[in-house]
Point group: C2
């Protein structure tokens, strides 16, 4: 595998390196990932995250395994484990299926997946940037930037392109409980990019919209059904309902690798349920605290499903799709 | 001042004691409050909180001051400071105004305010309990129980009455970022009461409503305008919009002392803006962590305003008021 570099993932002189996103923003520590089994643990622990990036990381770990001399049978076993490491984001499955179909070419396919993801981000950025006006205040949820992809990101890539075009924008960042990807990662990326932002708690967005302080919403997707429904980080559906009520345009941004052509409706998307301890407190490089009573009952669905009808449109690498186009089955033509 | 006891406030043998709610649920520490100046600090630090309770606590601290020999002039100065200690909850101002109008009787007025609050909670409980059916799953936000009043609470008092009548109910508890009154205090109260509950992040409620898992919403108010608009803990407006979209009945519960007869619309309610550090992390007896980048920008409005039209109805100590009745000015008749 040749040398490859992104904000959260690197292949360097035969070594696969992952930026531990659980330690951000306080500590920037690169983990050396030597085996696919290690990558499974890294993905499960969310040390690497973001629907596109986990697909790319899994692919690279198989390419790396091949270079260490793994047989085709070993690669297939490792690929299965990686495929099952997280259930909701479909990019992981798409990438692994692509590798399994050309397992003798794993190294070059992995490189291609990385480089293609960079390209897809560029296209999404260009396809979405024109939706943003000078002076817009934009709400985003979770993290969809360079840390979530091999390139400039999905929704955050669109925002970045608008900023680079000189549009004066301001980003409201949902903290994104329980794992705080907004508060920890999106703030960190926006600071690096010099884009002005305000961090808010997830429950503040409605009141900001009522006051007319949010003009657009851009966020990502973990799996898109062919009818335009999509799963994304928990809280996305809440933002969609609130946006609809206030008539604030609401866009999701995703590469075609996030579309699940086997899935015709959001109802069929499996939702990962994570440990209740994540809701009862927080843990990270900043420390670990639990504020709820020790024996408190909690639930922790990691994603929710937003129906297509709540979207204003979807920005894909292939272009912009209005709700009407999505409802007419436009995504089926992309297969 | 005679001996008085509630879940979060006690007057005992000439001593005024406050349960430090910032330390809950992990530590139950009673603070001895010797002067009104100390009470101002206790209120500002949210060691005592809940719109009704801060009014009662302020009144008792003036009664206590009188017993220590304070002159009428000293009482008036202290009352002004207490009145200004928090800007949004109107009960504080109502209680202090009552005391200022009968400052020579401060001791008996303070006792009366405490005992009346206990009564008001009973009436709200009885007036709201019939809205809950056997088997209902109920969402609540922030803390509105025994810790927020001198009695059984406002919204949580209604829920408690339904439970005591033998209705099998389940409560979904919004954690209520940033200060986590739901995760820390409501869970603690529900556990003591033996009422089954599930703690959730604020951004999960919409998805639960979509799945039909929430039948009713009950929450409190910090100030009610005469047109039925009301201010309450940040995130309330978000719940109101989501409930309206899903057609889930949405009730606020408040004593008449929360009505601001000088305020004809929610637009006129001042909203307290607290320190951004509360959004960038958490702090309490459980520890103190900051997860956002050190120099992150954040905003922190502590309350939001929900317009009357999003209510299904308001439960007051005086009875139940439908949205239609509220919109026709029913609250003006209560003055």
């Amino acid at each position: 595998v040749k040398n490859l570099t992104s904000l959260g993932l690197r292949y360097e002189n035969g070594k696969l390196l992952v930026l531990d996103q659980q330690l951000l923003p306080h500590e920037e520590k690169w983990l050396c990932c030597e085996t696919p089994d290690q990558m499974v643990e890294i993905i499960k622990a969310l040390k690497v995250r973001g629907a596109p990036l986990i697909g790319v990381a899994a692919a690279l770990s198989l390419g790396h395994y091949k270079e260490q001399g793994a047989s085709e049978a070993q690669l297939r076993i490792a690929a299965r484990k990686l495929r099952d490491s997280r259930p909701t984001a479909v990019n992981l499955m798409t990438c692994i299926d692509r590798i399994l179909s050309e397992v003798s070419q794993v190294t070059s396919v992995a490189e291609k997946i990385f480089e293609e993801d960079v390209e897809l981000c560029e296209h999404m950025g260009l396809n979405g940037e024109h939706l943003i006006n000078d002076g817009d205040h934009i709400l985003t949820h979770c993290n969809t930037g360079g840390l979530a992809t091999a390139g400039i990101g999905t929704a955050l890539g669109v925002i970045r392109k608008a900023h680079e075009k000189g549009k004066r924008i301001h980003v409201y960042v949902d903290e994104t409980r329980p794992l705080l990807q907004g508060a920890r990662l999106t703030t960190w990326e926006l600071q690096k990019l010099g884009i002005p932002y305000t961090l808010i708690c997830d429950n503040m967005a409605a009141s900001l919209m009522k006051k007319g302080k949010i003009q657009k919403i851009f966020l990502g997707a973990d799996r898109v059904a062919t009818n335009g429904d999509f799963a994304n980080k928990i809280g996305t559906y809440s933002v969609a309902v609130i946006a609809s009520y206030h008539k604030v345009p609401f866009y999701t941004v995703a590469p075609y690798t996030t579309i699940d052509f086997e899935c015709s409706s959001g109802k069929d998307i499996p939702i990962e349920e994570r440990n209740a301890s994540e809701v009862k407190g927080v843990a990270g490089s900043f420390g670990s605290v639990q504020w709820a009573p020790g024996n408190a009952q909690a639930c922790n669905p990691s994603f929710d499903v937003t129906p297509c009808e709540l979207l204003t449109g979807m920005v894909l690498d292939k272009g912009f799709f209005s709700t009407q186009a999505l409802q007419k089955g436009a995504l089926l033509n992309l297969k």
